[in-house]
C-alpha cells in the first residue's frame, strides 16, 4: 500500500509540473546574441570561478554524505522547473518566472546552488530556446551567483538575528528573485547602451521589470518559505546536517 502511495505522490508531482510547464517559455534569461562579445566574455570570466568552486564543493559533500545526492537532485529539478515556468502576472499583463535559487542556496549552499543553476541554464539554452549560449555567463551571474548569495546571506543574517525559519526563508526567496533582476538590469544596460549613459538606461530597464517581478518576488518568497518549513516538518535532521538549523533547535 505504501508503494502505491509513493507512486501516486510521485505521479501527482510529475503531472502537476507537466501541466504547468506545457507552454512555451517567456522569461527573463538574456536571449542569444543580445550582449556584445566583450560583455558576454566578461560575464563568463566572472562566472567560471564560482562554478569551479561549486564542482569542488559538490564532490567534497557527496563523498561525506550519501543523502546529499538526492537533495542535490531535488534542488536541480526544482531550479530547472521553476526557472522555466512562465507565471502570468495579471497586474502587469506579462509573464515571467521565479528563479528557485533561494531554496537551493539555503539547502545545499550558494556554490552548489550556482553549479545547479548553470546546468539548468545550459539545458534551457540548448534545447528550450530559453536564454542563450553566448549569454550563459551573464545568466549564471545574475540568477546563479547573485540569486544564490543574496538568498544565503539574507537567510543566515536573519536567522542570526533570531528570525523564524519561515520569515527567513521568505525574505531569502524574495531577495534572490529581486537581486537576480537587478543584476539582469545591470548586465543589460551595460551591454546594450553603446555610447548612451549607463544610469538612465539601467533605471529604465529596472523600472520596466518592477510590475512583473514585484509580485513574482513575493511568490518566490512564499514558495521558499513553504519548502523550508515543509522540509523542517518532514526531515529536520537533514536541515541540521546541511547547517540550516542547529541540533538543539530540532531536539525540542
Amino acid at each position: 500500500m505504501n508503494i502505491f502511495k509513493i507512486k501516486s505522490r510521485s505521479l501527482w508531482i510529475a503531472s502537476l509540473f507537466l501541466q504547468v510547464l506545457a507552454t512555451p517559455a517567456h522569461a527573463m534569461h538574456i536571449a542569444e546574441g543580445i550582449l556584445p562579445f566583450n560583455w558576454a566574455a566578461l560575464w563568463f570570466a566572472v562566472a567560471v570561478p564560482f562554478v569551479a568552486i561549486g564542482i569542488r564543493r559538490l564532490n567534497a559533500l557527496a563523498k561525506d554524505d550519501l543523502s546529499f545526492k538526492p537533495l542535490v537532485g531535488l534542488m536541480a529539478a526544482v531550479v530547472f522547473i521553476i526557472s522555466c515556468m512562465p507565471i502570468p502576472v495579471p497586474t502587469a499583463g506579462t509573464c515571467s518566472h521565479p528563479c528557485g535559487t533561494g531554496i537551493a542556496s539555503i539547502l545545499v549552499g550558494p556554490f552548489v546552488s550556482i553549479l545547479i543553476t548553470s546546468v539548468a541554464l545550459l539545458i534551457q539554452a540548448l534545447f528550450l530556446a530559453h536564454g542563450g549560449l553566448t549569454t550563459w555567463g551573464a545568466d549564471i551571474v545574475s540568477m546563479g551567483v547573485v540569486g544564490s548569495f543574496a538568498a544565503w546571506f539574507t537567510f543566515k543574517g536573519l536567522r542570526r538575528l533570531g528570525a523564524g525559519l519561515a520569515v527567513s526563508g521568505f525574505m531569502a526567496g524574495l531577495l534572490a528573485d529581486w537581486g537576480t533582476y537587478l543584476t539582469t538590469s545591470v548586465e543589460l544596460a551595460s551591454g546594450i547602451r553603446g555610447d548612451a549613459p549607463f544610469l538612465p538606461l539601467f533605471w529604465k530597464i529596472l523600472i520596466a521589470f518592477i510590475p512583473t517581478q514585484l509580485p513574482l518576488g513575493i511568490l518566490e518568497g512564499a514558495m521558499t518559505a513553504g519548502m523550508v518549513v515543509l522540509l523542517y516538518k518532514k526531515r529536520p535532521d537533514l536541515l541540521v546536517k546541511m547547517k540550516v538549523l542547529r541540533a538543539e533547535e530540532v531536539a525540542v
Binding site: I13, P24, I205
Partner: protein
Amino acid sequence: MNRGTGTRDWGVVKKLLILSLFGIYFCLPTSVFCSEKWPGVDESVVEKYAKEHGREAWTPFINTDQGDLLLFVFLLAGAVGGFVAGYSWRMLIVEKAPGIKEAAQKKKS
C-alpha cells in the same frame, strides 16, 4: 468549544481563502500597459530595450522554437524534471535517503 472542529473549520476557511485569492488573481483583467497578451519579460523588457539600442536576439543555435516543437520539448523537460523531483523527494522523505537507510540497517544487525 470543540477544539477539533475549530481546527477543521479554520482549515476550510484557509482553503477557501487560497482558492478565492487564486480566482481573483487569474480573473483580473490584464493591464492596459500591454497591447499583446501575456508576453514574457524577455520580449516586453529585455528584447524591447536591446532592439532600441541596436541589439537583436539571434536565432537559438538549436532552434526548437518552431511550431509545436517547443511545446513538445517543454513537455519532455517537464516530465523529466518532474520525475527527478518526485524520485529525489521519495529518496529523501520516504526512504530517508540511502545513507540513513544503510545506517539504520547496520544498527539493527
